[in-house]
Amino acid sequence: MTETDQYYVERCLDGHPDDFRHLVRRYQPVLLAHLAGKLANRGAGFRNVRDSAEEAAQETLVRAYFKMDKLKKPESFFPWLLAIADNVAKEQQRKEIVRRRRQSVRECCEEAAPPELSEDYGLEAVVAGLPEAYRTVILLRYYGGQSCKQIAEQLEMPLGTVTVTLSRAYALLRSALQQKQGDPERNVPRPGPQEVNEVNR
């Protein structure tokens, strides 16, 4: 379980599909948190965020497996996986919107009930709303159970950048959570350009 993503990706491509198991094990909590956050966000109004997120995570992993030959840089497996997850989440949301629209047509003049933000995944929703660099570090650190050192290696950035990003991510998370308490509809504020620059070095 200590091998790199690249190693497992190449093993899979070499015809050892069972090694994909290691990547599933490594990223399933991260994916689930990310997808739960995505689906709980934006007033998607999913009845059951957990089930929808699990379904989406499954779909994401299966798709990733079958598209693996299209992954140009095997070391970028994780960002690539998240991009697939984002697509899956978008598709699910679209389906949900169609479903609800149908329902609201059926319920005729009745106003569609305002979507409820999932209380269970409030934190994940805020994480999912963070700019990519911060989101990635938080996801990998806590949901992926990786140390800052491991993250630095995986993302090929200096340890200092990881810790700075993590600190900043905490700050953004806090202010977003505070804002959410006041106004649940509001999104996480985007950082200024200098902050993004800082992360990119």
Binding site: P17, Q28, A33, E54, G145, C148, S167
Partner: protein, 482 residues
Amino acid sequence: MNCTECKELLVVYFEGLLEDVQERAVEEHLKHCEACRAELKELQTLRQRLVHGARATAETDLEDRVMNRILQEQNERLRLAEQAGTGLRFRRLIMKSPLTRIAAAVVVVGCAIGVMLLAGTESVALADVLARIEQIHAFAYRTSMTIEDPRTGTTKMDGGVLVSNEHGMRIDQTNVNLHEGQETQTRLVTYMLPREKIVAVVNHAEKKYARMSLDDAMLEIAKTQNRDPRQMLKALLSCDYKDLGTSVIDGRRVQGFETRDPKYLGDTRENVHVTLWVDVETRLPVRSETEMQIGEGIQFVAVDTDYQWNVPVDAAEFKPDIPNDFTADPMDGTQMPSFSEEGFIEALQMAVEFTGRYPKTIDNEGLRQLSMDIGNAITTSDSPAAQQWREQIKSAGSKENALRAGQERMMKLMALTMFNMILGSQQRDPVYHGDVVTPTDVELPLMRWKSSDSEYRVLFGDLRAETVDAETLAKLEAALPK
């Protein structure tokens, strides 16, 4: 160390990543600063929440589910790859019957004709030609067709066609199919008999025959099939066409007309190129060329020549001539599928039963894909429909019976393209949304067409049909995804 410096290091501090000197400095500052202690506490609470959230999501076990799905799908893909063969074999089996071949020819040819009813025209010349032919009660011509299909090889058909206003149509043809180095020759005589409402096919290569009944919708198609020059002219007149000027064919001065207008095929998507040469003196067609592409990679070329007008006709020529030693094909006595709304719905129903979804398109390529999918489903799927079909094959008693039942059902699928094509040719504005509508979309329009000047017939995702006005239709279609 001041508070700003300290606060910036707090996260790194509890991550345990500070160097000894810094760590001691932070600890020293914290001892004396309540505000920073509060800040640390808050950050740690947040961290606790993250850890807690992570624990909750870590409880999941997708591993086995994902791996099972991957294995399943992998096997399925392998099987499909291996079975691209089986699917094709199955398709070939279907295509083997002379009847289905004729039915397939009906699809192809009907498509070429695209049945258009003439509605006014500015062209004097072509309309004039049409008027001339319409006075003719019987005519004959020679036809030669080539169909190149990467999947079934090259098929050349040569034959003579005799058309009588009174009796119907008779086609004598020899088909030669060349596929993977194997040549198969078939001699067929086909009779389309509108009064009896049947189509009869006599296969001289296999010494078999079959007579199948047609409903009115099918008869309409049958009448217009095989590039009847009258229908070609009507179609040409309703399209954008070009006058090619004069030329000489067989010593006769002719004038050419050409169209590449997709309307010629009732706006089905195939590319089309049609040229018609008309004798300048007699104002009657001398030669026609029809070229088109069907779906992916099927090339169809037909050339008709040697038109003879007002030929004497003997009723006996339209009586199916079946030698005594010929036997009935399993298809004998069956009903050709209905290309009506009901037939169309039935075909869609069948698609769902076997594949769980609607075909993305209902052109020839969509139909081809669907028959392959159903062919695969019959052998591999656990759906009740597939199981039932397998049971039927088992209990059919004989191969022949099984084949016959199978063919009859598969032919019903043709209603998908045919119904759409008939609507298109009648300019009834058919639009199909199978690419986005699923069987569970009970409020979304799967297919619609004009039922009168102001009303549309709409088929919903659950295959229920309703007649609505244009405004309602617009609302329904606005709800479609994308």
